[in-house]
Symmetry: C3
Subunit: 397 residues, 3 copies
């Protein structure tokens, strides 16, 4: 465990451009940006674990805009905001309406007069979520530069169609803690593989987020999926380039077995094929219920051909010393528990259950770090002030 001073020194050695910039895609950020995000998360956790308040807003709003259901991320965002002193106000579109471009521009301003941060989840439609966030950002720029907004609220991507940076960064922080340092990840093999699930339409953002992030730190990244379950090509290409640049590797393979072989880390997780997500987006937009039903049947039937893509004891035996670290963004489809056959056998999941919970536990800190870096030019300075003040989070006698 590093001391607060060590974390601060590390922070001070970085040159970052996080201040005032939205956090939408990890690959838009420099390595120093990502390091700072991890370090600030560590410092926030360090302080809270010692009952030191990390409140740096006396008042201020954080807007959450969930365009898809969420429990984990909703609570993580609420926790992160509360940790810093921001109050969450949910933009419930059922109780208002955001329709076309015009109104996004207007709504962005109307919710932002006294707002410091906006967290958005929009992962249902390929080609939409990221675009929506960019549009929201442009509207905020417009409002700020025209004197409508006294501050330009930052945007945090809480999952879009392309990336899921709060998840992948929490996963990365879990690995950093598990192995004892970011530099320890160099050369470690991670298998990001498709896995069978009796459901359909799961977003691509988690596997894309993982290959888009883990290839930046010299890891050996294997992506495995059955024929047809491709990800967005640009993201896959980027992963390859990044692996080369960071001194690691990136391969696409066709079986779970090949990806698992000698892996240090495995991340088996279901997703829908890119082409299906595109079709689905079209059907959802036209409200074609018959078409959606037919597509679902087709997909489930197709999924069923790959029921053996299950992370079980036999699969785990293939990994380094039969002892790879199992990861999942949760909830996992667990065979015999949440479904007859799923992504992972009950035994394997149970062995790593606590680890997956710890993995999830980094998310509130990662989100809080993203917020803090967005709002404060000198994050390490603010954290030092909090440390020195040493105000109790929970009152003491």
């Amino acid at each position: 465990m590093k001391s607060f001073q060590q974390l601060t020194d590390e922070l001070n050695s970085l040159k970052t451009g996080l201040f005032g910039r939205d956090f939408l895609l990890t690959w838009d950020k420099t390595e120093d940006d990502l390091r700072q995000t991890l370090l600030v998360a560590d410092e926030l956790k360090y302080l809270r674990d010692r009952n030191i308040s990390t409140r740096c807003f006396d008042s201020g709003l954080a807007v959450s805009n969930f365009r898809d259901n969420s429990t984990r991320t909703r609570f993580s965002f609420a926790s992160a905001c509360n940790l810093l002193g921001l109050e969450v106000q949910d933009l419930d579109e059922a109780k208002s309406q955001i329709a076309h471009g015009e109104t996004v521009r207007e709504t962005a301003n109307m919710i932002s007069f006294l707002t410091d941060i906006i967290g958005i989840r929009d992962d249902m439609f390929l080609g939409e979520g990221h675009r929506y966030m960019l549009e929201m950002g442009a509207a905020l720029d417009d409002g700020f530069s025209n004197g409508v907004l006294p501050q330009r609220p930052g945007i945090i991507n809480l999952q879009c169609d392309i990336d899921h940076p709060t998840q992948s960064m929490a996963d990365l922080l879990h690995l950093v803690n598990f192995y004892g340092g970011l530099d320890k990840l160099k050369g470690k093999k991670i298998a990001m593989t498709w896995a069978y699930s009796p459901s359909y339409g799961k977003p691509l953002s988690v596997p894309q987020g993982i290959i888009g992030l883990m290839t930046r730190f010299g890891m050996e990244v294997d992506l495995a999926f059955p024929e047809g379950y491709n990800l967005i090509p640009e993201v896959v290409d980027r992963a390859g380039r990044q692996a080369k640049a960071s001194g690691g590797s990136f391969r696409v393979v066709n079986t779970m077995e090949e990806a698992f072989r000698d892996a240090d880390i495995v991340y088996p997780k279901s997703w829908a094929p890119y082409a299906v997500m595109e079709q689905r987006t079209g059907l959802l937009k036209t409200g074609d219920k018959e078409g959606l039903k037919a597509l679902e049947q087709e997909c489930l039937a197709n999924n069923a051909r790959f029921i053996n893509w299950e992370c079980n004891e036999a699969m785990m035996k293939l990994t380094r010393d039969g002892n790879a670290l199992y990861m999942h963004c949760l909830p996992a489809d667990i065979s015999g528990v949440s479904c007859a056959r799923g992504e992972v056998s009950a035994g394997v999941f149970e062995r790593y259950r606590i680890q997956t919970y710890k993995e999830a536990g980094f998310k509130p800190y990662i989100i809080a770090a993203m917020i803090l870096n967005n709002r404060f030019e000198f994050a390490s300075g603010i954290l030092e002030v909090l440390y020195r003040e040493g105000r109790s989070r929970v009152k003491r006698i």
Copy 2:
């Protein structure tokens, strides 16, 4: 821009009765009451713009009770409460039930044990919204005087069937800022006119709020609407009397053109005819869906006769120097953008878009001022304390 001391001196020169009184209708308030509301809003903005915390509650609840959909006002109320340190708890009647008089009396008390302020929107039914707020207020008086409540929470009207004081006061503050003072409004001509919209059932509270407020400051107020689109007669009568008393004028005219001629300010906005709102109230109460559908058809057909009531370049040319200030409570129905033909042409709206956003941006401060004046006998004293303490809203190194 006035200094804080100037604002304080102005405040101290007023004799007001805002403390402990609900803010339901602007015309129940004295001119000094309204001036104080504007000044306190200015001071709150002054402080926040300088990163000085305006938190004057260490804890405390604010209840919001939206009986109709809302985005702008919901966020404005949440922002205002957060600015002062109150936490919003929404009374979602779908998850409870407020039925007849008896239960309003009870619910009013049940939600108020530790509550400082209650914001209510109830604008659907003519003859209901304002009455509901009075009933709620009487129930709170009863609870307070009987020792049930340790404080008598204040009520803020967030839009009723008669008035929309947070909107009209924000509009007024916009004008005060635009022209450089409340006294500068004397003699300015404002055209509050009906405008075409392909929708139906829009409340009357905005135009009523505007003519009920702007006639108090010596403005030349023209109200224009097509035959049949009358407002509540009592409000129109009051506007006339007020205009006379304040040294301004008030006219009802029959064309947009006449109202726009030489206007300094135009406020073109659709609303439903008073008689239709009355019919609709009856049909809604009896749940007569067929009747509602028929009424809607009839109304839209009637609206269509006035499709030329559009605020466009030709109309704007009629105004003073062709350069009147365009106002709207938003969202506007914009021709070619949010509908084929609407209240305003795309070009006119775009030219004034930023101004309408700024107009909306005063609402959180107006609401916060209403709350502060309701809770603190010496508002200027509290604001001075906040100013002198100078606590940072966002932490500084």
Copy 3:
């Protein structure tokens, strides 16, 4: 009215085990535990009434999990959390999913990373609510002991199938205030009786909570209900044993008249028969709508046989000096007001209306006391610190 010092001295004389323990059933708590809960509630009220802030959390989340509708308890919980400085985040299961045991275990952890307290209402199904809370608690223990959670959040039962401790404890505090001390309740007769209502399926937790709590303080407790309207047998047995141990009495009688005779306090309230609730639970689980409709008809018909179980003037005449204190958890079914015939006549209710509101007003303080006792080992010490600091809740000039 006791002084703060007196309350503190009383508190310091107790030996309690509330710290770190969930508050699920009053009968799992010692008499000292219950006394401390009452005293802490009194101290919190003492401080707030004098505008002294009772904020003891600088940040922190409280999760509310309402599996059934609620207004009173929702606002009481929100008020209590706000009073202490915790922010409520609602776990809305419609926007997530908690299905079987596995997921409760996972969700419990996912919502708790930065959470201090969890309030749960789950009163729909016999045999389920209490079990759900135990399961949630075990999951939190597991997460905390495995290092997933940095703290073990406490659980407050906001009503289950067995007990409703925040209600019964607020009722008790009302009696303590009404009679001037807990010792004054010794020998007082309380009639907890069934009453007619034209509704069906009301939970058993209020009458069970009342007989399970009031029998601990030497009161004479009469439970009355028509044939077939039994409560859970274990709770009734326990009430008998407790009455004996505390030097009071406990009787089950068959008429409202018998229970009311010479009663100091009456608590007439409708509930569904235990056997019906069991049948209903089965039908709800299998989604048998026809069966539910038939059961409802049968029940309402059965209820109607006991329409004379109404608390009216004639009934009240039977009580001690015709002047018993009427209690109700609200909302009551009032004859001629909320229904044609109900639990209580309009006249009787109106005479005691303010008393029932005051009764309800203790709930926020009782919940806050439960939270404070759960989180702080030395509650009286924390309260003394707050008292000495004397920070204003509402700013003063």
